[in-house]
Symmetry: D2
Subunit: 340 residues, 4 copies
């Protein structure tokens, strides 16, 4: 396959993370993008030493970030840095002329006060103002043409896609919504901790972040944007003994009477033509979307509540796949390229 001379040149910043590794995997298969620069804060060295699965497949170094080098080598950066570090770095990349898809939370929460309650003092409100929330199925028009895309959190992706049709059409009340999720352990990142140590995590499942998880306000923000008015919801994550995937179960109260058939039809219409969101006729399973950019959604009505299940791969549609989808959009490539 002859490579296009007009290949997009892509840098991955923070490439030694799980989302960095997943981004590399996806870009290796992308026909119009070329990896040109990989950086890491720690774990520098040959990519195949950091990630043995790349042996023989990628002959590049992970090196400390140099903005000038970045500017000379890349058109777009996938920034996999953690929050706080991201908002210290992104302004420099933008100033150097790159387009940026940022994986951290730093540009997701539009209300800096909300951000600061859950994270840190915000040090880049200027770019926050024009950053676009990168959930293409809901905000595609804003993403095209953006210079800075805030790639959504993993939980917010699964939850927002599950709830959007209901909220957009006013089918359910905007209060009292419950979002109950179970994530695989890779969502916790690469750093070993007692809670994710194999002998503790295997044969286990437990809730965490009770009442305080940072993705709660992000989900509320998206839900409110879609509903056009404030939405209040309760988000409760759990972690289970698998590597990848998020299963989300949402419970909400309909504003009027509605049947399972009606809600199914609503979802089919809402997501018609969306490649990566599949409204399925049976409850989803995370294994059905593993290693893919797809989200499977099954909506129904049970005992007077609207119950919607969604399944995604937290590292793909919940992170790197969606980032490439956003990258495609802001670079003028077909949205699904490299992701099918």
């Amino acid at each position: 396959m002859v490579q296009d001379l007009n290949m997009i040149r892509v840098a991955i910043i923070g490439g030694s993370s799980y989302t960095g590794a997943e981004s590399i995997e996806i870009l290796l298969r992308h026909p119009q993008a070329k990896l040109t620069y990989l950086t890491a804060q720690s774990d520098c060295g040959h990519a195949a030493d950091v990630f043995p699965q790349l042996r023989g497949r990628l002959d590049m170094m992970l090196e400390p970030l140099d903005i000038d080098k970045l500017a000379s080598l890349a058109d777009v950066a996938l920034c996999c840095l953690p929050h706080k570090i991201s908002m210290n770095t992104v302004p420099k990349m933008l100033a150097a002329g790159l387009k940026v898809v940022d994986f951290s939370a730093d540009y997701r929460i539009k209300d800096a006060a909300v951000y600061e309650k859950y994270y840190e003092p915000h040090t880049d409100k200027q770019n926050l103002a024009h950053a676009v929330y990168g959930l293409p199925e809901l905000f595609r028009e804003q993403i095209v043409g953006a210079k800075l895309v805030a790639n959504p959190g993993c939980f917010p992706t699964g939850a927002s896609l599950a709830l959007a049709p209901l909220l957009k059409h006013g089918i359910v009340k905007t209060g009292g919504i419950i979002v109950n999720s179970v994530t695989g352990v890779s969502g916790g990142g690469k750093n070993p901790t007692p809670n994710f140590h194999f002998p503790y995590m295997n044969e286990n499942i437990y809730p965490y972040g009770v009442g305080v998880h940072r993705h709660g306000p992000e989900i509320e923000q998206v839900a409110s944007m879609v509903a056009g008015k404030p939405v209040e919801l309760l988000f409760q994550p759990h972690v289970g003994p698998f590597d990848r995937g998020i299963l989300t179960t949402t419970y909400s109260d309909p504003t009027g009477s509605i049947t399972s058939e009606q809600v199914m039809k609503l979802y089919q219409d809402f997501y018609k033509g969306e490649r990566f969101v599949q409204v399925v006729s049976k409850p989803p399973a995370v294994k059905h979307v593993a290693k893919s950019n797809y989200c499977h959604i099954f909506p129904t009505v049970v005992k007077g509540k609207v119950v919607v299940f969604s399944a995604i791969d937290n590292l793909v549609k919940g992170a790197s796949g969606q980032a490439v989808q956003n990258m495609n959009l802001i670079c003028g490539l077909p949205e699904t390229m490299g992701l099918e």
Copy 2:
């Protein structure tokens, strides 16, 4: 350790099932109970051939059920038969003079019409009428002195213990309650099926029984008994890639204002003195109760909802351990014997 001459003689009926095996394990450690008779429908033969983990530990045969033999050998039967078969067998055991703890659903649902909607035509309404629901922490007084105990379902055990204090004291509304559970795979039994085939189930999690799971009405029945009025709730089970355990997350709406501290105090008081229900100060994990008869419960208030988490081992507190707890009660032994 010299054995008491007045050891209780126990039969396990349907001993080749997972609950049968777990019952055997528990009774092997019970200081006042002696296994005297093991039966199986299929998988007859030496116990150590059916369950290699019993090699060198139990020299007994699993044999087809003979009621006369049962009557001559045992004082009490743990009946691990599936529903329908159970209600065909239990009357004979009772008629032969045995006390019975039955693991099936056949004697759990007091309203035969509800039972028949979810299961089969009920063929033993006579014994159904005097069967006692065997959740000792809630119905201890009725259990002592019973001849037939309906051992609770695994999900209903975790859900009922999580919700009882709220409902008993009218803290939450009796409608709109959500019970979201994730069970380990052993809850699906010993029979291999595509859904529980390792390459499908591993690295997977999915909902099932959407809107139709048989444990829903059982949970509602217990909740209503505790509340003293009809309770309506939505029960949604999921299955995850682990052998044992059920994590239940309940969401309900308080009738008045209540704080996390108040709800915690309520639970501590309600379960004060209960050995097997531990109100914990952090969210529970199923690994903390694996292979034990304990239930860990953590209640709190999040965004105006009362959220309660409970964790049990589905095969112990959710089945065989609770059955032995019930056996102890109906046989006049200390309730916790053999279970600590």
Copy 3:
């Protein structure tokens, strides 16, 4: 990406198996191959109903095999049928003019007497005579130009690649070789059985096929072909609680003195230029080759024995990936196409 008018048209026969599903996944990413026909013995219907992970990605039916339809639609068939059924079907496909890569054991064992000892009476000795054993790194020249390729077994792939350099160069004795392997559970196929039921298989590992596993003689055949004289080895498989991957550990006795450095150099030279065989500098892990067509090999000398470790994905390099590699070779495409 414009599709070549001369795309290879590929049929998958027995497409509802795990190897069928994996073949579909690989071919969906193959730039010069087009899936034109899918058959199944059972589990017919829309591909996305049989494999929910294909929802939105493949709009084809799995249908019963019709040889005439096959002949009109495809140039090459990947035949994922089980042994015996395969040798009843392959002759018809060859007669209809197709090239065939066969996944079963039916055309792997050159000595029909050996085959018949481990399998069935052989009913297609004619095609057996000209079938080529499809391990490209060892037998590439014979594969190019073949009409019928016998795709190697999963264990034989990992074992043969681990042992070949030693045997080719007479570094180790041709007797007393031990091949100790651990496979993931998908190697056992899609059919649910008690041994692979999740609650039995999880948290478990056990040997099987002691002294009788059918892959033993296949490994010996390849080893003997490479060595140029009869090789006798002991193959012992085990199965562990993971979906995918085979880790093989071989132990053999050197004919003369040799160091770890020398054996490492030997392997690096032997596999120089081979894309899919990577000689690594640290012991391999099956996760490093999951979902890829790569084999990682680490050779060393310990206490006077040559110890070689290899890791493959049993469904990719051990089945469908290698089949596509063979398909590329017999169809005149670049060998690595669609597999990187």
Copy 4:
């Protein structure tokens, strides 16, 4: 159950480790032993805070070790400290009059030079001289009456029990023996590391300690003691994605001709009367011995080699269970007490 006035008073030193936790679990069920003192280096505090599974079951503190307090409270110490720290502490405990079962490697290797090659300079050769290697099935007579027992390593337990009958009776050559083992992850201890981080370890299996694992010389020492002459063997460990258990596969060359039936008979005779070693008629599985002190062994002959499989729980027969077995022996209690 009334407690015997002559209960053995037991201290667990280093109680916050996995082996400490397992020792606590076993002793809670022991009818003649009473936990009187728990110490920890870090993770001090209430036992139920360190190990939530002990909530409601053990009301004791884990506290820093005080030798005087230990001497006043306990008759025997299970010392779960790591090597080096153990040999600094054990002399003080012995001097204070306690009997000690030590879990570390410090008193296992009789030849201090070998110890020092794999570990540290040995600082307590005096006690090393009279320490007894605590594998009761092989060295019971020496253990009874010992003051200091070196509890065997987990791999050496499984390997030694697998090989002992062959070596004792000169059935196999004393050179060229291969010991291939796969352990569960708890064998690596409680400290989180990248190699045992869930997203790395799950769906994975890999070799480690190639040529340098410290249990190699320990296995050789035991094998040589049993054989009565030097034995040389190659020990290769692997780690797989399960919590508990070690499956060991040994390969050795018979000195003369021997059949599977003969070797089976040899093992049955050798282990006749041993409660915890079961010679089984089918290959073992680690799940069959999980959470038990049993070792399942299956010996056979394949292609001229004697192949022996053994399965143990690395934390029970491979650590804490065997320690209690040793404790029983040195304290004059029935050997199997608390372990059945």
